[in-house]
C-alpha cells in the first residue's frame, strides 16, 4: 500500500538508494532464520493485522496504539538514510515515518525515564527462527532517552513510499541510522520507558563484541571484521569496498550525544 508521505529534503542528499529488490531480499531478521534470504522467504507467515504497540513503564500516558493511529499521529516523511550492518555491508534506504520523538512526546514520559526499550513480536508459530535459532527471545533493543529523542531516530512505517514489507520489520520499527542495523528493532509490539539500561539481545549474546551503544565506528572493530570498511550492497564486485564513516556519516548531528564518553569503552 502506498503511504501518503512527503519527501524530507534534509536527508539523503547525494545518496543513491539501493534497489528495492536488494533492500527487501537481503535481510537480517533472525526471527525468520539466519540466512540473508530467509526473511523474504518466511516473513509472509507473520500476521501484521491487527497489530498494537503498547507503551508502558515510566510514562504519564500509558497507551496502546494500533497501526492506523501511528500512521496518523504525525505527517509521514520520506527520508533517505544510510544503513550500516555490523557485518560490514551497507545500503541506502528511503524510509517512511516520522521522528520517534513525536510519539515519545505524545506519551509524556516521567522525568525518571532514562532509557527506552523496544520489544519485538515473539510468535513461534509465525516466526520459524524463534524455534530454530538459539538466542534469547523476544528480541529486545534499547536507546538512551536523548538518543531516542534525537530527530534522526525514525519511527518507521514504510520504505520506498509503501508500507513496510514483513521482512523489513512490518508493520512498525525504529531506524537509528548512526548505529549498526541490529539496534533498529523490527516489528515492535512494546515500547517501555525505564530507569536503567535495558537488556538488549546482541549485548546478551556477546557482550564483549556488541555493546549497548553500538554506534557505527570505523575505529572499533568486531572480532571477525574490521569496521573501517564496508561492502556496498548492489554494487559491482570490484566497486563494493568503501570506507566507513564515523557515526555512519551522521557525526555532525549526533557526535554531541557522546561528548566526554570514551567510545572505545562504550562501544
Amino acid at each position: 500500500t502506498k503511504l501518503p508521505a512527503t519527501p524530507n529534503p534534509n536527508y539523503g542528499k547525494g545518496l543513491k538508494p539501493t534497489s528495492y529488490q536488494d533492500v527487501t531480499h537481503y535481510n537480517n531478521f533472525y526471527e525468520f532464520g539466519t540466512s540473508k534470504s530467509d526473511p523474504s522467504e518466511n516473513a509472509w507467515r507473520l500476521k501484521t493485522e491487527p497489530w498494537t504497540v503498547e507503551v508502558e513503564g515510566l510514562v504519564h500516558k500509558k497507551k496502546t496504539f494500533d497501526i492506523d493511529q501511528l500512521m496518523k499521529l504525525r505527517p509521514l516523511e520520506d527520508r533517505v538514510y544510510r544503513f550500516r550492518c555490523v557485518e560490514a555491508w551497507s545500503m541506502v534506504i528511503p524510509w517512511v515515518g516520522y521522528s520517534l520523538s513525536e510519539l515519545i512526546k505524545a506519551c509524556d514520559p516521567l522525568s525518571t525515564a532514562r532509557y527506552v526499550q523496544f520489544i519485538s513480536v515473539d510468535r513461534p508459530n509465525q516466526e520459524p527462527g524463534i524455534m530454530s535459532v538459539n538466542i534469547p527471545w523476544p528480541y529486545s533493543e534499547g536507546l538512551r532517552m536523548d538518543e531516542a529523542m534525537h530527530p534522526l531516530t525514525l519511527l518507521t512505517l514504510g520504505l520506498y513510499g509503501e508500507a513496510l514489507p514483513n521482512q523489513s520489520g512490518a508493520p512498525v520499527r525504529v531506524i537509528v541510522p548512526w548505529k549498526y542495523g541490529f539496534k533498529s528493532a523490527k516489528s515492535i509490539v512494546k515500547i517501555r520507558f525505564v530507569k536503567n539500561q535495558p537488556p538488549t539481545t546482541w549485548n546478551l549474546i556477546a557482550p564483549n563484541e556488541y555493546g549497548f551503544y553500538s554506534n557505527v565506528n570505523p575505529n572499533v572493530d568486531h572480532t571477525p571484521w574490521s569496521q573501517a570498511r564496508e561492502r556496498v550492497i548492489g554494487a559491482p564486485i570490484w566497486k563494493q569496498l568503501q570506507p566507513t564513516q564515523m557515526f555512519n556519516g551522521y557525526a555532525d548531528e549526533v557526535a554531541g550525544l557522546y561528548k566526554g564518553m570514551n567510545l572505545n569503552t562504550y562501544y
Binding site: Y26, T34, N134, I135, P224, S226, I237, W238
Partner: protein
Amino acid sequence: MKVLVHLACLLPIAWLVYAGFENNLGPDPTHTVTFFTGRSTLRLLAITLAISPVRKLIPKLGWLIRFRRLVGLYAFFYACLHLLTYVWLYAGFSLAAMEQDISQRRFIVAGLAAWLLMVPLALTSTNWSIRKLGGKNWNRLHKLTYAAAIAGLVHYWWGVKPGVTTPMFLTLLIGGLLLARPVVKAIREGKNGDRKPPVAVGAEKM
C-alpha cells in the same frame, strides 16, 4: 576418469565465473564469492579425507587413491582463490589493513594458518617429491591435511555470528572422517586378529 575428476573440481569455479558474467552473484557478490570459495575448499578437503577410510573399508574402491592428490590440489586452488578474495575485496590490497587484521583477528589468523598448512602439501604433490621424501615421510608430512582441515573449520566458526550454524554440516562431516581413522584401524586390526593362524596362538601359549 581423470578428466571427470578435473571437470568435477572445475565445475564450482565455472559456475562462479558464469554467475559473475550473468551478474547473478546476489546483492553482496563479495560475500557470495568468499563463502563459495571457502566452502569449496573445505568440501574438497573432506573428499580427500574420505578416500583413505573408504578404500580401507571397501577394498574394491582402492583405485580412488589415484585421485587424492589431484583433489587435494584443487582444494588448495580454491583456498588460494579464497585468500585472494580477502586480499583484494576485503583488504583492498592494503598491507596496513592486512597487518592489522592478522594482529587483531583470530578469525583471520586461523584462516591464514589453514592456508599456510596447505602450502607444503601443494609443493610436495609431485611424483618427484614422493620419491625424494620417501613414501613414509611423505605420508607423515601429508597428515598436515588434518590440521589444515581443523584450522579451516575453526576459521569458519569464528567468521560467522553467534546463532549461525551453517558450518555444522562440514564440521560433522570432517570430524566424522577424522574420527573414522582410528575406528577403521581398529576394525582392520580386529579382522587381522581373527585371521591369525592357530600355530601362532599355540606358539604364544608356549
